[in-house]
């Protein structure tokens, strides 16, 4: 008996020790564990999706660890510092975007990268964080729900970077940036009548965008989404193949490393944007629902943390970051399952690829800093 109780208490002690460490590092335990679980799923799936490539596996683990590091570091930055730095980061990001538009490198037909000598770097990634933070910063001192003039300033602050990114062209990122800003407005209590009028406005704007702003390939994606069979070997190929992969996985899946769609390379971009289909093929409905539940947990937990934040800036920023994460998940899974048109949005923490993972982790670091329980003395 005493032996058993001793064991228990040792386990308890370990747990409490870990909890103390997390607290000291301003990290939220449940969220931290959720993120690590998603990251683990990512590494396992990418190994299969890359055709059992150890190189991919190593790179994915390395990036995840790098992201964790970024998150832990950012969680240590006091909220006030984050708030003070926000407008400057936003301005720098905007200037970089303009620079890209003028001089940027052209990679894969799109002008997204800025060559800083040592690293090539996508300013649009900064904007994914800077735009929602800047909106929250702007509303911090102002009474909520926001007044019409404030709304116009915010619309400009979101619209300009969105358009700059959309013109690169990177439709996926521009949508995410716009969504992140929009989330701040919604959480700040944007009146329902404004929401309604924005939706009403979207129709003519969509028309204009279709006619003048969208690139041919972007238009093609929408058209193909509406009728994938119209071009089964061209643009519709992705959508058709990914639905075949998911559908043929059934409830239980074909088994790890056994998905014929993925392993025979019928599924394009299977380790990046379409990795969700690989999970569906190899792990079935059960695997997909598990992943979705994990995501819901992460989002729910961060949204809860947002409500515990002490000031307007923290609340709005944290809330927007968690909801934007949700948009990520929904847009990617929606596109892979054929609910939404194909826009280049990766599945967070699972898709193979560098910058997005680090940016997301950084976002969670900021969120944890803003919402950490701190002793009043230390503030």
């Amino acid at each position: 008996m005493s032996y058993e109780s001793l064991e228990t208490s040792r386990a308890q002690r370990t747990l409490t020790g870990t909890a103390r460490l997390l607290l000291a590092l301003h990290l939220d335990g449940p969220l931290f564990i959720g993120l690590c679980l998603v990251g683990a799923v990512g590494t396992i799936v990418v190994f299969s999706a890359s055709g059992s490539s150890v190189g991919f596996l190593k790179a994915q683990v390395l990036r995840f660890l790098l992201g964790l590091g970024a998150m832990i570091v950012l969680a240590q930055v006091p909220p006030r510092v984050i708030r003070t730095a926000t407008p400057w980061v936003y301005l720098v990001g905007l200037i970089l975007l303009v620079l890209v538009a003028i001089t940027g490198d052209i990679a894969m037909g799109a002008q997204r990268w800025l060559d800083l000598g040592i690293v090539r770097f996508q300013p649009s990634e900064i904007m994914k964080l800077a735009v929602p933070l800047a909106c929250a910063w702007y509303l911090h001192e102002r009474p909520l729900p926001p007044s019409l003039p404030s709304l116009l300033v915010l619309a400009l602050g979101i619209g300009v970077p969105t358009l700059l990114i959309a013109e690169q062209p990177d439709l996926g990122t521009s949508l995410l940036v716009a969504a992140a800003g929009g989330m701040v407005l919604l959480l700040a209590g944007l009146q329902v009548r404004y929401i309604a009028s924005v939706i009403a406005l979207l129709v003519p704007v969509a028309f204009v965008a279709w006619q003048f702003l969208l690139h041919d390939y972007q238009r093609q994606r929408v058209l193909t989404f509406l009728d994938p069979q119209s071009d089964p070997l061209g643009a519709g190929y992705h959508i058709i193949q990914s639905q075949i992969a998911i559908g043929s996985g059934g409830i239980f899946g074909k088994g790890y490393l056994n998905g014929s769609q993925a392993q025979l390379e019928f599924l394009p971009e299977r380790s990046t944007d379409f990795v969700f289909a690989v999970i569906g093929e190899e792990w079935g409905l059960i695997g997909l629902v598990t992943v979705l539940v994990l995501y819901l947990f992460v989002i729910g937990r961060s949204l809860y943390l947002a409500t515990t934040a002490h000031d307007t800036f923290s609340r709005l920023a944290a809330g927007s970051l968690s909801l934007t994460f949700c948009v990520y998940v929904f847009v990617n899974t929606g596109m892979v399952t054929g609910l939404l048109p194909v826009v280049g949005v990766p599945l967070p923490f699972i898709s193979y690829g560098g910058t997005a993972m680090v940016t997301l982790m950084a976002g969670f670091g900021i969120l944890m800093s803003l919402c950490a329980k701190r002793k009043l003395v230390s503030r």
Binding site: E141, R142, P143, L144, P145, S147, M183, L186, L187, A188, G189, Q241, Q243, I244, A245, I246, G247, S248, G249, G250, I251, S260, Q261, Q263, L264, F266, G280, G284, L285, L288, V289, L292, Y295, L296, I299, G300, L303, A306, T307, T312, R315, L316, G319, L323, C326, V329, F330, T333, G334, T337, G338, L339
Partner: protein, 653 residues
């Protein structure tokens, strides 16, 4: 009264919480939608997608269509498709591409110099596509590869149909040839229709009628295993595989009469020469010869670098289409047209005479003394006799009076100086000079000036004037038809492969060449009849070597100077001059005069003798081939086995 709003932290906290809850609800709904979609895909439509995923082991392979046949006007096959074996490589089945290609090169199956191009081509295709790396294997190469086949996984021998020209080089410049599709071709062609096709038309009919000849690719589904290798069944199941048959290309009936073509080629063999025969009543090109030719089968087979260099560096330029692109001074063959121009502008009447003393000097000008080809002169000549005897003095005189621009305007009606519009590409325009032309053609101010002496040379088809054999035949056909002009064409009818229906193409009528008095046609033609038949006609002696033609023949000889020698010097025998300095011999003719069925232009570069003596009998043979029955031909052959090689009357006109 404006209200000042103050921040209410408690209310804002509550507002945020309400919004967060709403967002959470929407979020759960969105994820719910995704899950509902997953249930639809993975549970409800599971069987359907499983089948599709199985279907992904089914590969679609294009089946190239059979290229349309090319036949002469009587249905004799000129281009067809013959089975051959080619070597194909499928990238995804090859372990080491470099080693494989080097291995094949070591076995002498591919040229090591071609490896970089091959690699580029292979990489540009999808990994499971079979890329041809050698087009036609000889029996010997086939055996050599078969013996060591196991060393080259991913490289297969495949039977294919390739283009085959049973008559070899005959009519090659009209038919053209096919060759491997190049990068340049890819830009021009609809690649979807060319899936599986390796050859495309490069010149002549093969190129101009590519859209008719090619057809549409079909496809078949193949069952493949995970490695992409073809298998017969999945387990015990033999799945049903779809197949869409390709639609063969349309067959073409040419206007060429292979009998005539062959006779003309035979007669011109060994020369750099060209002959074009046209039916004046519709523009049908009955013969289209440019010698030397080349064997188009080489290109379909994929020719080696050495073979290609041999073709392009041959000084006789076998690839050069002289009929379409060779421009020659028409010489005296232009005189009948010049005569009509003179009548049209009222410079002379048919019966006006000029007295020919054997030489002529431009009135009042500083021009040199010009000598007629016949030193002693022709005496008093009217128009008919001027044509028959090819009197230079007469035509110098009328040309001088007309002036170059009027000559230009009149002769343009016969299609000189412009493309005839024949249905293959690459036609040259030749030069029909005018003062305007000279202004544009030359740079320096003094060269731009048109001198009256320039006009005089034009009068006998020399100087700046040039024309292609096709243009000359077209102009003579127009004259034979009393001004009715048809666009020359090589394709008479198209047989639709899908319906089997043969569609005759309508001849294209061009604007008529006009004369004020229709009886003038007969004056010019009478002169040409005399050339071939009258005792004073320049060509009678040579034409009649094969007996009097059993039809009324009209003709006109010509000599194009290659090298300017003093008039007196030109009296020397042509055979004494270096070969490449000799004059070109020309002859134009048509028959029967009463109802012209064939008009012909013959040009022999650097001929051993003059137009009448050398090109005349060739023109006669071409007319015979078309107009005489086989019995008549045999009879004539028996009577006059070999035309005498004796030089006849001096005719260097």
């Amino acid at each position: 009264m404006p209200t000042v709003r103050i921040k209410d932290h408690h209310a804002e906290q509550q507002l945020f919480e309400r919004r967060a809850i709403a967002a959470a609800v929407i979020m759960v709904l969105a994820v719910g939608a995704v899950i509902a979609r997953l249930v639809w895909l993975q549970v409800v439509k599971y069987d359907y997608f499983v089948q599709l995923s199985q279907g992904n082991r089914i590969r679609i392979e294009p089946i190239p269509p059979n290229r349309g046949l090319i036949m002469d006007r009587n249905g004799l096959i000129l281009a067809t498709n013959a089975p051959s074996y080619q070597l194909e490589l499928t990238r995804e089945q090859v372990q080491d591409l470099d080693a494989t290609l080097n291995g094949l090169a070591a076995m002498d199956l591919i040229d090591p110099a071609d490896i970089p191009t091959l690699k580029k081509d292979i990489r540009s295709r999808r990994s499971f596509e079979a890329v041809p790396i050698k087009l036609q294997l000889t029996e010997e190469e086939l055996a050599r590869f078969a013996a060591r086949r196991h060393q080259f996984p991913g490289v297969e021998i495949r039977p294919r149909l390739t283009r085959y020209y049973p008559l070899g080089s005959s009519a090659v410049h009209a038919i053209g040839y096919v060759g491997a599709i190049s990068e340049e071709d890819k830009k021009r062609l609809d690649l979807e229709r060319y899936a599986g096709t390796t050859l495309t038309g490069k010149s002549g009919i093969e190129r101009a009628y590519e859209h008719e000849l090619h057809g549409r690719a079909g496809f078949q589904q193949l069952l493949v295993n995970a490695q992409g290798r073809r298998v017969e069944r999945i387990g015990n199941e033999i799945p049903e595989l779809e197949r869409r048959e390709p639609l063969a290309g349309n067959d073409l009936y040419l206007t060429i009469d292979q009998r005539v073509q062959q006779v003309a080629e035979e007669a011109l063999r060994g020369h750099r020469a060209s002959a074009v025969a046209i039916d004046p009543s519709n523009g049908d090109v009955l013969a289209f010869v440019s010698t030397p030719g080349f064997d188009p089968n080489l290109f379909a087979r994929g020719l080696t670098r050495a073979q290609y260099l041999a073709l392009t560096e041959d000084p006789n330029r076998p690839m050069y289409d002289r009929a379409l692109r060779g421009t020659y001074p028409p010489g005296s063959t232009v005189k009948p047209l010049m005569a009509l121009a003179a009548l049209e502008y009222g410079v002379v009447t048919p019966h006006d005479t000029r007295f020919c003393r054997g030489s002529w000097r431009m009135p009042g000008g500083r021009d040199r003394l010009r000598r007629d080809w016949k030193r002693e002169g022709h005496g008093a000549v009217d128009m008919r006799k001027a044509i028959a005897t090819s009197c230079d003095v007469y035509f110098w005189d009328v040309a001088h009076v007309m002036g170059v621009d009027r000559i230009h305007d009149y002769l343009a009606q016969f299609g000189l100086g412009q493309q005839t519009g024949i249905d293959i590409e690459g036609e040259r325009e030749g030069i029909l000079p005018s003062t305007e032309w000279k202004r544009r053609a030359f740079k320096s101010p003094e060269a731009k000036i048109w001198y009256p002496g320039d006009t005089v040379s034009i009068g006998i088809g020399q100087g700046y004037m040039t024309a292609t054999p096709l243009q000359l035949a077209h102009a003579i056909a127009t004259l034979a038809a009393h001004g009715k002009r048809y666009q020359p064409r090589l394709v008479r009818a198209i047989r639709d492969a899908a319906t089997g229906v043969t569609r005759e193409l309508e001849p294209v009528r061009l604007p008529d060449a006009k004369v004020k008095d229709p009886s003038w046609w007969d004056v010019a033609i009478a002169g040409m009849v005399d050339v071939a038949n009258a005792p004073h006609g320049t060509a009678r002696y040579y034409i009649y070597q094969m007996g009097k033609p059993p039809y009324t023949m009209a003709g006109k000889s010509g000599t194009a100077q290659v090298f300017t020698v003093a008039a007196t010097e030109r009296m020397r025998k042509a055979s004494e001059l270096a070969e490449h300095l000799r004059d070109h011999a020309l002859f134009v003719a048509f028959a029967p005069v009463e109802d012209p069925k064939i008009a012909v232009a013959v040009i022999v570069e650097n001929a051993p003798r003059g137009g009448s003596a050398y090109a005349g009998p060739i023109a006669r043979k071409i007319l015979d081939a078309y107009l005489l029955t086989p019995e008549q031909l045999a009879e004539q052959q028996a009577k006059y086995p070999q035309p005498s090689a004796e030089p006849g009357p001096n005719t260097t006109e």
